[in-house]
């Protein structure tokens, strides 16, 4: 016989748990709402009439090619271009290396080496960005300086667009690699066997079947990677040089990204120069959303067969 009181009690516990989980879900999702709302409210205020430190023209802000706090000129147009250049260039540099490395780890390396390399990649992913930053400002800049001197170019102590690109490429490498490893491991062994049974070589199989079957997961890794490249502030600020105007197309010239703009001197400033960083934050959010949308639609297009 079913105990009626026990059944009632169970129902009550279920109800309490349900409510509790719901509360947690609302709490965590409200963080993102609060964050976006706060950034937007703060970031939009400089463009509204009656702004206490003098209204900023939104067109000048979005399309401007000079950013000088000392003269009160805030134009982020060139910074957006700089950010896109450094992020996509680092992806271009890192992507083939990461994918081939993942392929090696999963398909080619002997078991022991594969396990070792996998943990190295995981370790790289957990290195804090400030550590990458000191590494970049200690070593990458020296390399860039040396490289520039071969071409007879003088750099700002090595701080340059190239240094940012190399730094970001290193930083996003573990992200793309570990996603690619997962994607390649998930490829059905049957497909590989089918290819080998058709008389394809190992290399042909790896490139034509394994990588093409894993492409959607590999692409997801690229999207995560470029997200990190866009968002990285600390390390980038240490080697960017924060140029006052632009955009920067010269690899050996200093540059300025949206994140380095937001970060540089944040603690020592107030008024418009402080508030405008929230506006730059909004721009950064839009750049990331747009790039994600672009890469996602590209991913869906190339991945439609798998």
């Amino acid at each position: 016989m079913i105990d009626a009181s026990k059944e009632k009690k169970n129902k009550l516990i279920d109800g309490i748990c349900k409510t509790f989980f719901l509360a947690m879900a609302i709490l965590s999702s409200s963080f993102i709402v609060i964050l976006v709302l706060f950034i937007f409210m703060k970031g939009i205020s400089p463009f509204l009439p009656g702004y206490e430190f003098g209204q900023v023209n939104i067109i000048d802000f979005l399309f401007g090619t000079t950013y000088r706090q000392d003269q009160g000129i805030y134009g982020v147009g060139f910074i957006v271009i700089n950010t896109l250049i450094s992020a996509f260039a680092s992806l271009l540099l890192s992507f083939p290396i990461s994918v081939l490395c993942a392929l090696f780890i999963v398909k080619i390396a002997p078991k022991k080496l594969s396990v070792l390399m996998k943990s190295v990649v995981e370790l790289l992913a957990s290195v804090p960005s400030i550590v990458y930053g000191v590494f970049a400002s200690g070593l990458i800049v020296i390399f860039v300086k040396w490289l520039a001197s071969i071409f007879g170019i003088t750099t700002a102590g090595g701080s340059s667009l190239l240094a940012v690109i190399i730094l970001l490429a290193i930083m996003i490498f573990p992200t793309i690699t570990s996603m690619s490893i997962t994607a390649i491991q998930a490829v059905d062994k049957d497909l590989e066997n089918a290819s080998l049974a058709l008389g394809a070589t190992r290399t042909q199989t790896n490139f034509k079947v394994v990588l093409t079957s894993a492409k959607s997961g590999i692409f997801a890794g690229a999207i995560l990677g470029i997200g990190r490249a866009f968002g990285e502030a600390t390390a980038v600020s240490m080697v960017a040089g924060n140029k006052l105007f632009g955009p920067t197309f010269d690899l050996f010239d200093i540059t300025r990204t949206l994140t380095s703009t937001m970060l540089a001197g944040l603690k020592e400033t107030s008024g418009l120069d402080y508030d405008i960083r929230f506006s730059v934050g909004i721009v950064l959010l839009f750049v990331i959303f747009f790039s994600n949308w672009l890469l996602n639609s590209l991913k869906n297009r190339i991945g439609k067969n798998s």
Binding site: D188, S195, G199, Q204, S213, N305
Partner: protein
């Protein structure tokens, strides 16, 4: 009768465990030979010896000879890639590549350096016709192969194997993942294919073996217990164990 494979004293070990024991068998050209037996009896393992797919399994050791056209395929100088172009394979689960139907068929020829578009088109049409799939897919060759039904996918895999113009097609339980209608289509196909190819099929279904094959080998615990014409095996088996198996007393 011409033989396709002559196997003598074949032993196969997975690590310490012996999976095939002293196999001796001649497989005939342009016939359908079925391997039957309970799970784990070594019939699939033996099938994979014939195109050296066992090479891919770690810890797999093989002794003995498998002669194909008089040459031992386990000699060190044998080109495995070339062997596999002559000995094609169809797997248990349909495994088309995540590409278009067309790309699936031309994959093998392309891997071997064929680039001529007209020739590739010819191969696609011929292979799909031989695999009895052309009428169903000729108007959507460039759509994903994954959109096909299970039975169509398996016929595509057969077409993909045919595209290499092999001498032998190995089939590892090709219908075990398919419904009865798709199964009967594949069986009809095997019937027509044997004019051009030697077919060796592993099957769990004794009805299938008796329907499609000319010769049947009964495997048990890594041994070939009996090998004869299919009619003899099913109507007049010499060994008690064969009789017990085909009458369903175990397996």
């Amino acid at each position: 009768m011409d033989t396709c494979f002559n196997v003598t004293d074949l032993n196969l070990y997975y690590g310490e465990k012996q999976a095939l024991k002293n196999i001796n068998i001649d497989l005939y050209k342009n016939k359908v030979t079925a391997f039957i037996g309970p799970s784990g009896c070594g019939k699939s393992t033996f099938l994979r010896c014939l195109n050296r797919m066992n090479d891919l399994i770690e810890g797999c050791k093989i002794e003995g000879n498998i002669l194909k056209d008089g040459i031992n395929i386990y000699e060190t100088k044998t080109d495995v890639v070339e062997l596999r172009t002559k000995v094609g394979m169809v797997f248990q689960k349909p495994n088309p590549f995540p590409m278009s139907i067309y790309e699936n068929i031309v994959y093998g020829p392309k891997c071997h350096g064929l680039k001529n578009k007209a020739e590739l088109n010819k191969i696609v049409e011929k292979s799909l016709k031989q695999a009895a799939l052309w009428d169903e897919v000729h108007d959507r060759l460039h759509e994903s192969a994954l959109g096909l039904s299970g039975g169509q996918q398996q016929r595509l895999c057969i077409a993909r194997a045919i595209a290499m113009q092999p001498e032998v097609i190995l089939m590892d339980e090709p219908t075990s993942a398919l419904d009865p209608i798709a199964t009967s289509k594949i069986e009809e196909l095997i019937e027509t294919l044997k004019n051009d190819y030697t077919i060796i099929i592993v099957t769990h279904s004794m009805q299938q073996a008796s329907r499609v094959s000319d010769y049947t080998a009964f495997f048990l615990l890594g041994d070939i217990i009996e090998y004869d014409k299919t009619s003899v095996i099913f109507q007049n088996p010499k060994d008690k164990r064969t009789e017990d198996y085909i009458t369903g007393r175990f397996g």
